[in-house]
């Protein structure tokens, strides 16, 4: 946990969806608590279907949580409504995965950004032009792009526009949902560096939702690992990646293929099989036990409590302590992520 008071704190959040089967519910986010300090870069990783996007969407109000609270700057957002809620929530902005779907085809880039400016009460045309120029400059785009339409832009440029639009309302938190996974390999680094630059210059906090573990490790200072609606491990990024202490985190890191064929030639077969089970009917006790190579009888009985390994690192596994010690003893060689 960070030492300073958190800027954004999510407490015991639960988001459920109605299942197609009558009377059944899918609990996409199940009792999740996370926090972001001012200006902190935090990662949220997990496989598709684990609820990481639903968590992000619940924070900004795109999904309605069943229970739990989103506390921003000391205020529980669920106690607010109407104008007060809109004003407070404006400080939390969302960057979507697919820049081909998140921009309006029929608006020029300038109009897209101006819309955000009108929302915060800036109506002067000259002021718009000035701010659009500044915002485009901040995300590394030429001001001439304001006259263009999204179809004239490449994927990387579109994502920069989407980022400029979310910055227009001067947010303090950005929720970035897979912001680079739709982009080409050679462009990803450019957009990631933009996030790092904005973070440094504007001191915005970022929740980075991604399935690319290597990217998250380098960009963030802390990481949460999510599995089937629950946070199963959290810690400082460098520590979590060097000494993963939940069997799921270990398996996730071990599955990343290395770009070195010599390492790949001697790779052991994957340690976990199958896929994430359906959230309609999650396994009892520890949710990972159906795929866990080290599952025991006790795992089916009760959901494991978080085991605190260091003040900042904890894992929800009954044998997390043992795994952590073993990691320490063995000179842990991390795979080269690709």
């Amino acid at each position: 946990m960070p030492d300073v008071a958190p800027l954004l704190s999510i407490q015991n959040l639960v988001t459920r969806f109605k299942s197609v089967e009558r009377g059944k519910w899918i609990t996409a986010v199940d009792d999740v608590s996370i926090s972001l300090a001012p200006g902190e870069m935090v990662g949220l990783v997990g496989e598709s279907g684990c609820g990481k996007s639903t968590l992000g969407r619940s924070i900004v109000g795109l999904e309605k949580p069943q229970s739990g609270s989103v506390i921003y700057d000391g205020v529980d957002l669920s106690t607010l409504s109407g104008r007060a809620l809109r004003q407070k929530r404006r400080a939390i902005q969302y960057v979507f995965q697919d820049p081909y779907a998140s921009l309006n085809d029929r608006q020029t880039i300038g109009e897209t950004i101006a819309e955000a400016l009108i929302i915060i009460g800036i109506n002067d045309k000259a002021e718009h032009a000035r701010l659009i120029h500044t915002l485009l400059d901040q995300v590394g785009l030429p001001a001439s792009l304001a006259e263009r339409y999204p179809r004239e832009l490449s994927g990387g440029q579109r994502q920069r526009v989407a980022i400029a639009r979310s910055l227009a309302v001067e947010p303090r938190v950005l929720i970035c949902d897979e912001p680079v996974s739709a982009l080409d390999l050679s462009i990803r680094a450019q957009v990631m560096n933009l996030f790092l630059k904005l973070h440094k210059e504007l001191n915005v906090a970022c929740l980075f939702i991604a399935h690319d573990l290597a990217l998250v490790r380098q960009a963030t200072s802390r990481t949460y690992v999510m599995y089937l609606g629950r946070i199963i491990e959290e810690g400082r990024s460098d520590e979590l990646y060097a000494r993963p202490s939940h069997p799921y985190t270990q398996a996730l890191l071990a599955s990343i293929p290395s770009a070195d064929p010599r390492i790949e030639a001697n790779r052991p077969p994957p340690s976990i099989f199958g896929e994430i089970p359906s959230p309609t009917n999650p396994p009892s006790g520890c949710r990972f036990r159906t795929r866990c190579p080290q599952a025991m009888e006790i795992c089916a009985a009760t959901p494991p409590e978080a085991v605190r390994l260091t003040p900042s690192h904890s894992a929800r596994c009954v044998i997390a302590g043992d795994i952590y010690q073993k990691n320490k003893a063995a000179d842990h060689v991390e795979p080269v992520p690709a």
């Binding site: 496989e47 790092l196 290395s258 064929p261 077969p269």
Partner: protein
């Protein structure tokens, strides 16, 4: 290039004509694949890697006319200029295909078992019941859990990984000599990706198939390929053995791509390495090197003359004026 290659492309060019535009997504490409080996074709979107593999098989969107030049030989048959009817015998038979998104490649209104059985009926001349029995066997071969029940299920009832396994079962149902896999793991999670790659490697060993794998993931390349062709703007810019290309890349584009991968020793919060500029937009063929505007080693000649693929003593071929010039070879490796 050995004489007994299963698949051999020589100066293959593909022009596409749509209602609005004429493009050349593949420009004088040569490569070869031997029986039982895996060639990875690496490139970003728009590099022509998908068109290169699917246009010769007649797999192009409707309304797009593909014009092929050069040569692409499979076994002893020239595929360029082959009639649509003759191509049908190869597609799904001796040449199996796997697509990136299994949900849109499978028939949503047909049970999995039937979709696999169709291939056996068409290409192996099996009866319906023989083909259904074989479908069950194939589901076991691709290690599908609960294969009897899966036969009767529809694609929407399966998860992404299981769908991709069903795709693979269909692709190998015609006992192919060559499997073309277009980004087979891109839509999957890393844990599932590792399982699918392990399966493909196992099948290749047992069935002695050649695989052409289209991907942009260097990790996937390293884990399965024996040879690599790196494509940029419709051309092969580097071609060679997987170890040479990944560990000692010669072309500045390959080097840039590999250097861009995050490494465990990179400090949290440190800047990401990448390539400057944007990938090229498909259009008319250019006179010079298409990578020149983004290249750190660019010289005057690069924008004027197309660099030829030159094979070095290490065995890898690179299409770059600068690295093929002896004076600069050391600089390019740095």
């Amino acid at each position: 290039m050995s004489a007994n290659s299963l698949l051999q492309a020589k100066d293959l060019s593909i022009d596409l004509f749509t209602a609005r535009a004429a493009l050349r997504p593949v420009d004088r490409v040569s490569y070869s694949v031997d029986a039982g080996e895996t060639l990875a074709i690496v490139g970003e979107s728009g590099s022509g890697k998908t068109v290169l593999n699917f246009a010769p098989l007649g797999l192009m969107p409707t309304g797009v006319v593909a014009d092929l030049h050069g040569s692409l030989r499979f076994g002893g048959t020239e595929l360029v200029g082959l009639s649509a009817k003759a191509l049908r015998n190869f597609r799904g038979g001796q040449i199996g295909t796997i697509f990136q998104d299994p949900m849109s490649a499978l028939n949503p209104a047909m049970r999995i078992g039937r979709q696999i059985a169709e291939v056996g009926e068409l290409h192996l001349g099996l009866t319906a019941s023989q083909a259904e029995n074989r479908a069950l066997e194939l589901l076991k071969v691709v290690r599908m859990s609960d294969p009897e029940a899966r036969l009767r299920q529809y694609p929407h009832e399966l998860s992404g990984g299981l769908r991709q396994r069903a795709m693979i079962a269909i692709a190998i149902a015609g006992e192919p000599k060559l499997l073309i896999a277009d980004e087979p793991t891109t839509a999957l999670d890393v844990t599932v990706q590792a399982q699918i790659i392990a399966l493909l490697k196992d099948l290749q060993r047992r069935l002695h198939m050649a695989i052409v794998l289209i991907t942009h993931d260097m990790g996937v390349v390293a884990s399965i390929a024996s040879k690599v062709a790196v494509m940029y703007a419709g051309r092969v810019v580097e071609y060679g053995g997987v170890e040479q290309v990944l560990l000692a890349p010669r072309h500045p584009y390959t080097g840039g791509l590999i250097a861009a991968l995050p490494r465990p020793e990179d400090a949290p919060g440190s800047l990401f390495r990448g390539l400057p500029g944007a990938p090229p937009i498909l259009g008319a063929p250019q006179p010079g090197c298409p990578f020149a505007p983004r290249c750190p080693l660019v010289e005057e000649i690069c924008s004027e003359l197309r660099p030829p693929l030159v094979t070095a003593s290490s065995g890898t071929a690179a299409a770059c004026h600068v690295v093929n010039d002896v004076r600069y070879r050391e600089v390019a490796h740095a």
